[in-house]
Symmetry: C2
Subunit: 553 residues, 2 copies
Amino acid sequence: MSTPNPTVGAFLFDAIYNTGTRYTFGIPGDFALPTFRWLDQSKLKLITLTHEPSVGFAADGYSRASGEMGVAVVTYCVGGLNMLNAVACAYAEKSPMLVISGGPSPSDRRTDSLIHHKVKTFDTQRRIYDEVTCASAVLNDPETAADEILRVIREVKAQCRPGYIEVPYDVVDMPIKLPQAKPAIVAVSDREMLEAALLEAADFINNAKQPVIIADVELHRHGLTDLALEFAKKVHIPIAATLLSKSIIRENHPMYIGVFSGGFSEPAVQKYIEESDCLILLGAFISDVFLGMNSVSLERKKCILANTEKTRVGLHSFENVQFADMVQGLLDAPVKVRERFENPNPPVDAVPLSAAEKTEALDADTVFRLLQLHMGDNSTLVCDTGDSLLGAIGLRTGKSNNFISDAYYLSMGFAAPASIGVMAANPERRCITIIGDGAFQMTGIELSTAAKLGMKPIVIVLNNDGYGTQRHIIDGPFNNIHRWDYTKICALLKYGTARTANTKGEMEQALQEAMAGDDMFFIEAMIPKHDCTRPLKRLGEQLAAQRDPSKRK
Amino acid sequence: MSTPNPTVGAFLFDAIYNTGTRYTFGIPGDFALPTFRWLDQSKLKLITLTHEPSVGFAADGYSRASGEMGVAVVTYCVGGLNMLNAVACAYAEKSPMLVISGGPSPSDRRTDSLIHHKVKTFDTQRRIYDEVTCASAVLNDPETAADEILRVIREVKAQCRPGYIEVPYDVVDMPIKLPQAKPAIVAVSDREMLEAALLEAADFINNAKQPVIIADVELHRHGLTDLALEFAKKVHIPIAATLLSKSIIRENHPMYIGVFSGGFSEPAVQKYIEESDCLILLGAFISDVFLGMNSVSLERKKCILANTEKTRVGLHSFENVQFADMVQGLLDAPVKVRERFENPNPPVDAVPLSAAEKTEALDADTVFRLLQLHMGDNSTLVCDTGDSLLGAIGLRTGKSNNFISDAYYLSMGFAAPASIGVMAANPERRCITIIGDGAFQMTGIELSTAAKLGMKPIVIVLNNDGYGTQRHIIDGPFNNIHRWDYTKICALLKYGTARTANTKGEMEQALQEAMAGDDMFFIEAMIPKHDCTRPLKRLGEQLAAQRDPSKRK
């Protein structure tokens, strides 16, 4: 007697479990209910959220914090299209995520009838997802479904980008044909190109006076951070991170000099990078954010660039060189060991509040200074876009991989739902979520899910009465928002403790109470309307100086 | 001296104003800030919301309530992609909407650099929007921008579907080249086909015993409702509406027999329609919702179908017949005048609560019965998906065009943000918004915008502790949600009055207080977890009977 084949649904969730993922995130809907029934019977845990944009961010947060593939399960169109922005964020920032959507039956497709949730054609959702994913499949046929599932998962893992699987509501219950053993096509480096690139890179580094590594997020995504750090330690070259990779190594590491982000950077970091004659950019996104909204430019002839898309030494590109081979290769390449270097920007102890300061009005910079003083080493910071992110540039987190933000795609509303995924991945770390008031109005209500699950984030809303970062670009009535009594969120959710901090002393007290307690702790930090953090001020000064040379420092 | 040409931004908003639209809806972001500056200086009013999914629904609500084009203004990708589901809803339900998105500069496109918010390519957002719109343009060139703007607006108005205009952040400030006068291509009917269709239709109707008109939403979208009603009155043929077109004529009109939606319908309506030998389907969407989740089927040979896509009499299709010509033509066609008909389902007075009932536990049906008793003629009902919609089937609203729901696309979370647009369009009508607790958790927080603007909706949350409608399909832990203290929404927003109604008497009292007052009034209506409205029960019984003939009534 042979065991019957599993159903499409059972096979799908087993395949996901086998990749290492343990949590999934979703919201059901009628086209997806049979899929949810299989998910409920699988070994995977499911966290349901309140709104689909949050489902995507939570799955992404889980992915970033755990290193595993994030999984988002939604219904057809009304769910899937509502989540699109969060998946686009994962695509842009190369975070591996699998979207599973319920879908119409193959028989619906044959008659092309008007079924609720249908937009233009039954393929509308898949076509849209093709624009924000690296692989997609519609499981119309249980004969090919297993191979399709494995193909999409393989691409997601290899490319660290989202994939899309649409599961018809009836096919999900059908027995699957087991996968055909096919050798996976694994990309390999052109050995001659690789060796030439490594020798040229080694030579370039050896001839440089002030080489520095910028360790960016693709190292983390592809599990190569340890190799890069080993290389740095072996040859004594310091490491900077970027806003997107912040905390890729612990930020009190002796080799670490801080976050580079052009004109947003701490001055010592910016100076050291700009004066470097050899920037080793590993896994880097050379984006406008990387360059501090293009406040600086980096000469390509001074750079060694290796990421999943390119390998370049100075102006020489090398084709068909795999990123992992290049990073591994650097470790074995003939790079000379340097004298121990003087860290241009070592961590400094944050200055405690003086008695006089405690009664002063709170400002944005002080929130981050107090976080540095009190957050301890066992916290993960999740920062939303704007000053919530910029203010954290100079803050040093105590462990690796404990800072999470969508620092390239910059979608407001990321942090609250992403925190749900982060807490699922790292229950042993305290999650501190920092959100502007505008972004909090977008998705802050997702703390409902923290309440449902008994999660205990510390949530800090930087309330500067509107879209503060935008006020520094173009101000107008469109940057005004309705002023909530934010602390009432705890009453609405019947969960957590809330404080409003008007002064620096109140902020410190709230933060200490939050850290000491065992509860969701919500802090409304009152920030003057036109205040901003030092990094944003620095950028403004540098951009002004570019326009007016007399203001150059 | 010649007047300088207006900028692209000024021209765009002037062109929109000239169509009759008065309100726009949006959320700014850096790529869109220069566009918002022009919007702020235009004759249009701008309502900013909290989250982009709401922007789309609010613009759609405005469109449905005003009959004008809804306008949604957002930033590139993080805004536009976040709003996609609401635009898909407008596409699916043929509601005219114009999406205006900020975008990158043509010079960014030339270098194809990594700019924040970029996903795959700079064309990603436009390609995605091409799947949910009828026309799109990216205004990279001020020489052609005016023609492009007018082309997209013309298509939106003609097709009653969304269009997309992407405005680069720098081009918006440039002087525009005034439009070239080009004759617009207007589709015209094939006269021979039209005449044949009309004669055959007249003959079909004249030979029928029980003809009935189903007046669907395309009549409303294309301004043809009055013609259809005139036809009905002239020849004495009764009119039904659908869930999507409910209130297309006032529901106490003597020619009106109720809402047809297959097995969801009131029994008298369903019987009358199913027994009809001539269904005149004007502007109809023959969807699964139309057919009560396919609980009934309609024989095509008994139908006359005229909408923007098809003209069919029995099994005969007629090509190139314009919908408007067909409706106008029916009025002039040789259709015989019938005897006055007996309305099979006249409006009946709702039965007041007895003294004994007042202390009974509230249920879903009673909410709608009390609405019928107390909502008066000057209210607009906005209903979310699920029982919030189904419960309203038998309720008779007192004026035309005062019922709004996304009754085909069925996206949860529609009602709260759509209400913002509805109230902007019809400030003189009281807006009553009915939302399930699950849908309220999605977008209910958008009442923030009502608070900001001093709008005074009556909001009824049907709290049945989870995704109630889904529990009747497949139940599981995925249908559970965190139970909020919903009435605390007023404290969070610092606005409005809130009541919880546990009994029928409390519900009546709350509703009377709400109607009498001049405030946002929030009512949490406590519904037993497994209760549902009569229409959903009726459907369940009919579907069960189809499977088991012994249960047929």
